[in-house]
Symmetry: C2
Subunit: 648 residues, 2 copies
């Protein structure tokens, strides 16, 4: 038998018709405000508040308004109905109320302590959207764009350092934060703020892993605007991109680490299972993402060769590209892997292979589309973070925990960057300077990923405390560290280095530099040259000819007995392109590897060549401040190629 | 006291993590298949199956698989729990089940007869997404794109005819379908298939209004590909765009028409209230949409003038444009108006004013973005329609009703097109030929809007029967009429007329034609020239100078005493542009209006000029079949303008 108290609510048809419109409108309004503000700031060259910081600020104000101005129309909203006969919550509940059947959709399990008066404020409720929207809709474009706009050449040159920071650094950061937080949790237990059994060491590690995802979007935007040293940019960008992937998989692994007996004791079996899980999920996601990209490359390759007319439909090409990339994410999620990791490596691989097979128009379309989606998604997330401070209904503010987290985050960043840089410098021919290390330390902002990981699970009280704290750490780092970037750069005197905009793919620039051999030798000597060269050679000889139209024909790279297969697989265009791709061969065979790469980094003309073997330039939106329309137009014309010139 | 039967379900954490991924993946997969198919078809110039038809076909197959292959994991799913004490359904229901509180979200009210075994197949349930997603997310880009790509000059020339078809024609269609369906309903009552009180005449009219929304997307795509006569294209396109808006508002008005006593009797008060409602909602939505566009125009105008550097951030411009346009839709919905109508007129107004203020790069970006969103949304909707035939759980197939609907739809189309064309031809100097009338009759396809209107309300049995029938009518018309378009065009010998691609805005072409005065005189003489001229004069003298940089400066068009105000409001650029815009003045002052417009319609070179006073060309994706890259490239170069040429 159950007791169901009386309940009255108004539910008119109009409510159904305009469902969701108001909430979406609020977001639109916030984004419009943000854009107008950025516009004003960019015009006055204010750099102390990045668009993400602004979006967060507006979100905060709007959250405040929604919380304290809108009233809860349902008074008795915190009422809990009891039902002894139901053993578990069905996904769909049909209830007969006064002879009318209502359908209810399962939303979530909530702890008793969360059942408070705010539960019923429908406006607050609607503004708190489903975490799955973050993961399925908002994050993929951001991560994909990061992968797609990775400057591959610089990235590979610094691959060793980036991998060290991303894997080892994230692990260090996770453990350091976990340990410090465990200390603070013990203090809280002593002070009576928390019960011992509520917060295990694994919870601290969980918090450590989610807080290890850095998001220096603000810093990178300013770097790009000020043309900061490309190596520093690449180190920071590469590290943050990979570190997100590592942190996500790490968080997942820790959350499923469940020692059999005492949760505070170390269970070796469960630990190794988690490590195995980590490796398995990472590798699986990597494979999933790359294979989708390879499929896209093959599709675009096949019809470039077989149906030459098909590249005349850039809309279809763009659509296919977009859908296959998103599918990489969704397939990984559906298979129990990590979609973010899959979509990241999908982006990298797409840029490497598929991009070459796209028509000139599609190249530009995909680039602009992903740029735009990245821009929107990023600002929606930051707006939402601001909103969440007031609209989320189960915040637990614990000053000690928050203070502990801020300390832990900075200590962990320091024990990640400085020791690892020291170790790396032992092996690197071109050292990572002290100033770079300080800048990397300072750029340890927390952002969308940390927030998204924290919001995934907010059912228990420890998780709610973590969410609240993560949110405040994000606010603090974005506003303080993000706002202080320009000042920090000036103070560390990093600003002075002048580098052209994304010159790493510029054939023209490289050609120009080859005729002017007075190269600046004090640039980074690739510390991972051997790794890079092995991969590059394989890629250049076998993968590129197989998947794109560049590179030498397979007939010349495969052994003779493979000739029939090679002939079948090689694009007829590849023979013609052999000459064009010659300079890559030159690079591979040339011991003075870096000289060639670096030579392009000091051309002052902001030229871009999209027809070169690789991909989009990424943060174009922030470049425009210095580039103006000139850079764009040039690119337009170059991508347009022959047809345009003949019509002009 | 309530009886709640036992209920068991499995709800693991993983389910939460991968929520939605599988469903989205299925849609992605269907869209990828569709794109690959279109690609193949376009390559072989198959025109009997348009992409929308293909998307629908794949959706159908997938729906079949989901329905009969996936199993319902929840066995006792149709169980209804009773609760006497609850008086009404709260939006959030908290239920305590075995000492754990679960939160349930109100989904909908369902009739007793709908509580069937399928209710619990979660896969089916998830594939049936919320109708509000259609209205808030999928429809706006399609409608906006239609408005944004309307060929204004041709549209205004045929304004009288288009308005007649859209308003009078839709009303005729609605009434004719309503009457015929009422006949069939009476027959069904006689045959005992239906009870008298279940289906009123207002229900028939409701069905009539939703079935009056035509969607000739398939036909128009083929028209564009085959370069069919621009006047026929404009008539059909303009009619279908406006007719959607009319049908939506009409459906809304009829659904709220509630005569006090006998629902079959005519209640004059209620009728006039509905008519008033119709006019109010239409005018309100129109005003809402246009004002958002004017605000956008003003914002982009202000910073073009005041902060000249701001147009250097095309990403922000595009973002603002996108968000404000979407806000027009959402605001209208939130205010109880019709978002679709608002977003349609917003699109038209944006194209007319804002487009001129955008930077060259933003012009292209917005165009491509809306094109892409339109493409995706359209195919998602058609996929979903295919899916819905098998995944929707409460279909009611009534052969008599379905047959009646097919008859009614064709009779109504005939009694719309032929009598109105006859009347219009009395007034038009250039008649609408018989062949055009047959083609318009044949192009009365039903599509996304009819479906979306029908799916909004599927609670009662009559509404479910209407939904099922509407779906089948969409299938029939898209496949049969859409597939037969090419054959029909050949049979009616309309194909022969050759017209350049979207030449209506081409200044160059016009200039060329002015020097070559042998104009083809047998083109449409603007029957609405007087209306057009009044509007055009006002627009040209006051609105354009106020909102854009084209047109004469306000100082020359406003009376002398307004000079101080005029000086303040006029863009400094406008003075410089006076010469360029001179030809428009010439047009206004010239009695031989049409000659000038028409002159541009017969240039064979597919040239486009985006710097001209107006807007995007719309169905570019289908043009490419004939245009190739040439058309695109030319446009790229022209939009790029000076900076590009100087860098080239």
């Amino acid at each position: 038998m159950e007791k169901l108290k009386e309940y009255v609510s108004v539910k008119d048809e109009d409510h159904f018709y305009h469902q969701g419109a108001v909430e979406l409108l609020i977001f639109n309004f916030l984004l419009i405000l943000t854009i107008l503000t950025i516009w004003l700031f960019k015009n006055h060259r204010f750099r102390f508040l990045h668009e993400t910081g602004g979006a967060m600020l507006y979100g905060l104000v709007m959250g405040l308004i929604i919380r304290y101005v809108t009233k809860s129309p349902e008074v008795e909203s915190g009422t809990v109905y009891e039902c002894e006969k139901l053993k578990s919550g069905p996904s769909t509940l049909l209830i007969n109320i006064t002879n009318q059947v209502y359908e209810y959709q399962y939303k979530r399990e909530i702890s008793h302590h969360n059942v408070n008066g705010h539960q019923g404020n429908t406006m607050l409720q609607k503004m708190t959207f489903d975490p799955s929207i973050f993961f399925n809709i908002l994050l993929p474009p951001i991560i994909f764009h990061a992968g797609y706009s990775l400057k591959k050449r610089h990235f590979f040159r610094n691959l060793g350092s980036i991998l060290t920071y991303a894997f080892l650094g994230t692990a260090i950061s996770c453990i350091v934060i976990g340990l410090i937080m465990y200390g603070f949790v013990q203090a809280m237990v002593h002070l009576g703020q928390l019960k011992q059994w509520e917060f295990h060491f694994t919870d601290c590690l969980f918090f450590g892993s989610l807080m290890s995802a850095t998001d220096p979007v603000t810093v990178l935007a300013i770097f790009h605007e000020l043309n900061v040293d490309t190596d520093l940019y690449t180190l920071l960008f590469g590290e943050s991109v990979l570190n997100d992937a590592v942190a996500i998989v790490l968080t997942h692994s820790i959350s499923i680490y469940s020692p059999k007996e005492n949760p505070n004791a170390f269970d070796a079996a469960a630990f190794f299972q988690s490590v195995g899980n980590f490796l398995g999920i990472f590798a699986g996601s990597f494979a999933m993402g790359s294979s989708y990209a390879v499929v896209t490359a093959l599709i675009s390759f096949i019809h470039l060769t077989k149906f030459t007319k098909l590249c005349e439909f850039p809309m279809l090409e763009t659509g296919l590209f977009f859908l296959l990339s998103w599918s990489a994410f969704l397939s990984a999620e559906a298979a129990g892997l990590t979609g973010i990791v899959a979509v990241l490596f999908c982006g990298v691989t797409q840029a490497h292979y598929t991009y070459n097979n796209l028509s000139a128009d599609s190249k530009m379309r995909t680039k602009q589309l992903f740029e735009f989606m990245n821009f929107l998604a990023e600002n929606v997330i930051f707006c939402y973070m601001g909103l969440a401070l007031f609209t989320f209904q189960n915040h637990i503010f614990n000053p000690l925990f928050i203070f502990g987290a801020l300390v832990a985050v900075f200590v962990a960043r320091a024990s990640n960057i400085y020791p690892l840089s020291f170790l790396l410098n032992l092996g690197r021919k071109q050292k990572i300077p002290r100033t770079f290390q300080h800048m990397m330390m300072f750029s340890g902002l927390r952002g969308a990923i940390a927030f998204a990981l924290a919001i995934r699970d907010t059912d228990s009280q420890p998780k709610q405390m973590m969410f609240t704290t993560a949110l405040l750490v994000v606010f603090f780092t974005v506003w303080v560290c993000g706002g202080g970037t320009t000042a920090m750069l000036t103070w560390l005197q990093i600003r002075s280095v002048l580098v052209g905009v994304d010159p790493d793919e510029d054939l023209k620039a490289r050609a120009a530099s080859q005729s002017a051999p007075n190269l600046d030798k004090n640039t980074t000597k690739a510390e991972s040259a051997w790794l890079f060269r092995i991969w590059y050679g394989f890629d250049h000889k076998y993968l590129k000819p197989l998947l794109t139209h560049s590179g030498p024909p397979l007939t010349s790279t495969l052994p003779e007995w493979c000739d029939p297969v090679a002939r079948l697989l090689t694009s007829p265009r590849a023979y013609g392109d052999q000459l064009k791709d010659g300079d890559t061969v030159y690079i591979i065979n040339n011991d003075e590897l870096t000289a060639n790469y670096e030579s392009s980094a000091h051309i002052a003309v902001p030229a871009q060549d999209s027809t070169a073997s690789t991909q989009a330039t990424g943060k174009e939106d922030v470049q425009e401040g210095d580039l103006g329309l000139g850079g764009y137009k040039l690119q337009l014309q170059q991508t347009a190629g022959q047809p345009q010139n003949s019509l002009a």
